[in-house]
């Protein structure tokens, strides 16, 4: 029964996706119906995931699935973030596609497919399952990125993402094969057991395999030195899709990364030295890219790289299984709330055909739309880690975790990086508040994206009060 409850959200989202895909075949099913259908599916999946939250630790149907999937509070919270992101993406898409007309009904089915792949990914306990769910997710996302076929930027984005993503997938498959060759198993737990028994460098195939898998995962989370694609891809994709990628996809990949590296696998100690440098370079590289951007989407993409860096700190600084897992998942939620909010706000504020996307386009927004400007400011402050927002609590936990693990230098570097990142977050606030408006900021009639934005503002404050257990 527990097993079923833990698996139910994935089942709901997957069958919902199939249902939406079938519905999309009918010509007289309007996009709106598909949109509301997807919302219902995501909401239902979210509620079921909530029930699964208190169910404890279980290898789901270990007899049937041969211990391929695991369900615990870590995967459940990651699942909650993913379903919630899916739900909010549908809401903002509804408004967004009132002003940008290139939608087909399959859009919502693909969102749901991507979400189901992500949820499976968070639960994956062995390499082949992880590979399959990674591909389910990626294929759906490729299509979503290139949805606007006639737009040259979207085409460029999908081409870049598809080519590089295919390489990453190839790396992952090759790495899995080598791992299997080295350890005789594809299960995280057994790989960990092999490493702790024989040492990491006992088998050179294992080292190469692990390296390949890390490359693939680092690519997916846009960590240095595999981060270059993210700016162009985010820039080319539609606003809600970018939001979905930035939040849900990152959550899923970080969950499997954490599982593979520290929670269920045993690679952490061997790789910590390299990950340390990767975390540092990811933070500062992301900052350097973000400082130079004039487009908000590109700035947010680059700031996403920086946040990946902060999350990598939590992977490097491993204290106790529960605390580190909670810190990671809390930070993911904190980042997701603010980023989702930003993209929901941009979904309605960017106007017809995404005409407003640079910093300058948002000049004086506070004079015309004070509430929207306030909401965006709150999201930015949360990303910058200023109290009393959830972003601050996330960063606080990361720092506590890092210093507690003895990684004081990493914590200090994270703080230096935060100070640098203030520049581009403040820049938008200054543009919105301290300049005169030149635009009337006309937006579409659909109020759903606005509703999402203001609900997420509430979440920014409410989640910050949520205590994390140690």
């Amino acid at each position: 029964m527990t097993d079923l409850l833990l698996l139910l959200p994935v089942l709901i989202i997957t069958s919902g996706a199939i249902l939406l895909m079938l519905l999309a075949a009918f010509e007289n099913v309007r996009d709106e119906i598909a949109c509301f259908g997807a919302m219902v599916i995501f909401l239902f999946g979210f509620c079921m995931q909530l029930f699964g939250l208190g169910q404890g630790d279980a290898r789901i149907f270990s007899g049937v699935f041969n211990e391929m999937l695991v369900g615990n509070s870590f995967t459940a919270v990651a699942g909650l973030i993913i379903t919630a992101c899916g739900f909010f993406t549908c809401l903002s898409s509804h408004t967004y596609f009132k002003q940008n007309r290139f939608i087909t009904s399959e859009y919502y089915a693909l969102t749901a497919f991507a979400a189901s792949g992500m949820m499976l990914l968070t639960m994956a306990q062995e390499l082949i399952t992880a590979f399959i769910s990674l591909e389910i997710m990626s294929l759906a996302i490729y299509v979503l990125v290139g949805m606007h076929r006639r737009n040259i930027k979207a085409t460029e984005a999908v081409l870049k993402y598809l080519m590089l993503g295919a390489f990453a997938g190839g790396f992952f498959a090759m790495g899995s094969a080598l791992m299997y060759g080295g350890t005789g198993s594809t299960k995280f737990a057994e790989i960990a057991g092999f490493i702790s028994a024989n040492g990491f460098f006992a088998s050179s195939i294992l080292v190469v395999g692990a390296f390949f898998i890390l490359v693939a995962l680092l690519f997916k989370i846009a960590a240095f030195p595999f981060h270059a694609w993210v700016v162009d891809v985010y820039d080319g994709a539609a606003m809600p899709v970018t939001g979905f990628m930035a939040t849900a996809l990152k959550t899923a990949v970080f969950a499997v990364f954490a599982n593979f590296l520290i929670l269920d696998g045993g690679l952490q100690a061997s790789w910590v030295e390299y990950l340390f440098y990767i975390a540092v370079f990811t933070m500062f590289g992301g900052n350097l890219i973000a400082i130079g951007q004039n487009s908000l989407k590109r700035m947010l993409a680059a700031s996403g790289i920086v946040h990946s860096g902060y999350l990598l700190i939590a992977l490097v600084a491993f204290t106790s299984r529960d605390f580190t897992a909670n810190v990671i998942v809390f930070y993911l939620a904190a980042y997701a709330v603010a980023t989702m909010g930003m993209f929901a706000a941009l979904s309605y504020l960017s106007g017809e055909d995404e005409q407003r996307i640079t910093f300058d386009d948002f000049r004086g927004l506070a004079k015309v739309r004070p509430f929207s400007a306030a909401a965006i400011s709150i999201f930015l402050l949360s990303m910058a880690g200023i109290p009393p927002t959830v972003g601050f609590m996330g960063k606080f936990y990361i720092i506590v975790n890092a210093i507690n693990a003895g990684q004081v230098l990493l914590a200090v570097l994270a703080i230096v990086s935060s100070v640098i990142s203030m520049w581009y977050y403040l820049r938008l606030i200054i543009t919105m508040y301290f300049h005169e408006a030149r635009d009337d900021f006309a937006v579409a009639k659909s109020p759903l994206a606005q509703a999402t934005t203001f609900f997420l503002v509430f979440c920014v404050f409410a989640l910050s009060l949520l205590p994390v257990s140690v």
């Binding site: 605390f323 306030a374 402050l381 200023i386 109290p387 009393p388 601050f392 606080f396 720092i399 506590v400 210093i403 507690n404 004081v408 914590a411 200090v412 703080i415 935060s418 100070v419 203030m422 520049w423 403040l426 200054i430 508040y433 301290f434 009060l465 205590p467 994390v468 257990s469 140690v470």
Partner: protein, 507 residues
């Protein structure tokens, strides 16, 4: 209500401020409501002052578990150290609603949010709670300077924000380091400020954490050489905000050093006190000399305020009871003298539409009440005997004599610089010939006189009969120094003389 009196003082302004931002209330409505809230805070503050027993420990404590796994709780309280800072905030705040009219209602809302955050930072007994309120304090200032400041407001607001946030983040790392050290040493997670005093911190990280915290507070005070944001921010901000920055927020920086740095990092403090004391004295002299050169009276007072903060900071680093008592006394004295001068200059600019000192003259003949009040506040700021400024600076210099003779002599003589620029300003603005700008200068109205009168009386009372105030401060200061010196710090305890005072002179 009385068991939650501090929470009321913190959250009433915060919530009303946010609510008024959202609700469609007229500008005057917001101003009146804001004043009402500030008066409620004042009444609560007076109640706290009256009921404060002086036992030494925290009183009016409220504690609510928040993140139990890490031992973080919503924990507030008041003791002898925080009482006077709290009172400075509560007493002076209503004035900013009474005197100037703002451009829009958001100005008053931001002021209310700043008030709540400042009270929260002063009353916090938990590191995380302190940090949260400390950071919230900055946000309204950022928006006020950016929205309502003068010509260079954007540069000024970026400067103050980046400076302060950089400092705050250093402090965040430092305080997490302290809490983690507490966990390693005792095995218990806690962020309670009082518990951190018992830690034994050693090594390079402890020094780094000490530096991190000192950076945050040094920027807020501001301590030389971290003062470079101050002239722009003080000059560009509207007068009532400059008043808050100078009279209250700078004091919270001083308070933070006394509350967080001195007890936790007693060894580092003892080792580096001399350097910090020199920073204080250099700030006192440097900003004083800079003030002489200014042609803009707001900028001049900004430097003057920074200069006097130097001597207040010096009082902490001497680490003896006299100096600490003087510092706490001077916190109120500086707020009521230099702080109030910003309000007077605001009135001066409002009526003459210039900030250029040389454009003015003869105000004293046109406005005798204004000139008298200004003179009293000015002389208190210079430290003339009979005013509050004298008592505080005298105690600090007395403490400095025990600490280090060179510093004491430098501090004592540098006070004269303050007299120079203040009297020269007074001569150029209030005496000499009246000109076209000052010919029609209106004296303070009856309403304005009533607003300022209590503060002027306070300056004189604190100067002529300081005993009741010192009686409230001294036990707390004594306890603070003793606790710091004896608690697991034999090095310092050895230097205690028979009267419980520290001898830290040249050894």
């Amino acid at each position: 209500m009385f068991e939650h009196i501090l929470s009321v003082m913190i959250f009433l302004p915060l919530l009303v401020g946010v609510a008024l931002l959202i609700l469609p209330v007229s500008k005057n409505g917001v101003r009146i409501l804001g004043l009402a809230v500030a008066v409620v805070v004042l009444v609560c503050g007076l109640k706290v002052y009256a009921d404060y027993s002086g036992g030494g420990g925290l009183e009016f404590v409220e504690k609510l578990n928040w993140i139990e796994g890490l031992g973080i709780s919503y924990h507030v309280g008041v003791d002898g150290i925080s009482l006077f800072v709290l009172m400075a905030a509560a007493v002076l705040f209503p004035m900013v609603f009474m005197l100037f009219t703002a451009k829009s209602k958001a100005y008053y809302c931001n002021l209310l949010i700043a008030l709540g955050a400042m009270v929260g930072a002063i009353a916090a007994a938990d590191l995380v709670v302190f940090y949260i309120f400390w950071e919230i304090m900055l946000l309204p200032i950022f928006f006020i300077i950016g929205l309502y400041g003068g010509e260079n407001r954007i540069a000024a607001t970026i400067k103050i924000t980046i400076y302060t946030i950089a400092g705050s983040l250093c402090m965040l790392a430092a305080l997490v380091y302290v809490a983690v050290a507490h966990h390693t040493q005792t095995g218990v997670w806690s962020f309670e400020i009082a518990r951190m005093a018992s830690l034994e911190l050693q090594g390079g990280f402890a020094v780094a954490a000490f530096v991190g915290m000192m950076l945050a507070f040094g920027i807020k005070i501001p301590l030389f050489p971290l003062h470079t944001w101050l002239p722009e921010a003080y000059t560009e901000a509207p007068y009532s905000t400059t008043f808050i920055l100078s009279a209250i927020m700078a004091k919270i920086g001083v308070y933070g050093v006394i509350r967080l740095v001195v007890p936790v990092f007693e060894v580092e403090m003892a080792r580096y006190a001399i350097i910090l004391a020199y920073c204080g004295v250099i700030g006192l002299m440097y900003c004083g000399i800079a003030a002489i050169a200014q042609k803009d009276f707001k900028r001049m007072l900004a430097f003057s305020s920074a200069s006097h903060m130097g001597i207040i900071a010096l009082g902490i680093f001497c680490m003896n009871v006299q100096a600490l008592t003087g510092t706490l006394f001077q916190i109120v004295a500086h707020a009521t003298s230099t702080g109030i001068l910003f309000l007077f200059l605001g009135i001066l600019e409002e009526r003459t539409e210039t900030r250029h000192i040389d454009d003015l003259g003869g105000v004293a003949y046109k406005a005798p009440v204004f000139a008298t009040f200004f003179a009293i506040a000015m002389l208190a700021s210079c430290g003339l005997p009979g005013t509050s400024g004298f008592i505080g600076e005298f105690l600090i210099i007395l403490g400095a004599v025990k600490f280090n003779m060179v510093i004491a002599v430098l501090a004592g003589t540098s006070v004269v610089i303050g007299v120079c620029y203040m009297l020269w300003l007074f001569q150029r603005v209030f005496f000499e010939e009246a000109n076209s700008k000052t010919a029609n200068f209106k004296d303070l109205s009856a309403y304005e006189t009533l607003v300022f009168l209590p503060v002027i009386i306070l300056i004189l009372v604190m100067g002529i009969y300081p005993q009741p105030f010192i009686a409230k401060i001294e036990p707390a200061a004594q306890k603070h120094i003793l606790q710091m010196a004896t608690q697991d710090n034999p090095q310092l305890a050895e230097r205690l003389d028979e009267s419980g005072l520290l001898k830290l002179t040249n050894d």
